[in-house]
């Protein structure tokens, strides 16, 4: 079943994606859960700056969080009305796996298995 998108809401979603940091976050989260400290390492940004971007994404419902011990993991929310739309948009972007690999190489990838 296809949801009918509305242009104003779509504009707001695109505005959220229209920031390099958030767009990269979403691209990564589409395939991999990540916690805040991983993004801090990835983007070379202060922790509050990262948290604030994630909060915007969370407030929109595009992203959800789940606490695992001391960490809070974020992931794309597949039940969002615009989930398919967002996946489609980011599907055309280069994947960011190399960034995650850097993290792993530096031993900064967090895993809870």
């Amino acid at each position: 079943m296809k949801h009918e998108l509305d242009i104003e809401t779509a504009a707001n979603i695109l505005k959220l994606l229209g920031d390099k940091t958030r767009l990269t976050m979403i691209k990564i989260l589409a395939d991999h859960e990540c916690c805040v400290c991983e993004f801090v390492a990835l983007f070379q940004m202060t922790q509050p700056a990262v948290s604030q971007h994630l909060r915007k994404l969370k407030d929109s419902g595009l992203v959800k969080e789940s606490r695992k011990g001391q960490w809070v993991f974020y992931s794309l929310n597949p039940s969002h009305t615009y989930y398919d739309f967002v996946r489609n948009v980011i599907s055309h972007l280069p994947n960011q796996l190399s960034k995650l690999k850097e993290l792993e190489a530096q031993g900064k990838r967090i895993s809870c298995d």
Copy 2:
């Protein structure tokens, strides 16, 4: 041949699309040339406000203009590197034909044939 998109440029494009007025403009321009005064009628916005949105779109190269007599017509620029990307994004949005029909009904549609 497929162009390789880069995430920073894509974010800038999405930021441009992340405004209700500009997103609607692009959606309309994807199928129909329009001149400034048509958008002024459509959006019930002042002419300078409309011109400034169009200038942003033109500065990005996403949209091109062509003067026809007293009018300046805008259209989507098919040779832009992100043309396919943009078309894909807007393909999921509801079409805005009803707005053009309103214009026609009011005798405000401009045509140069």
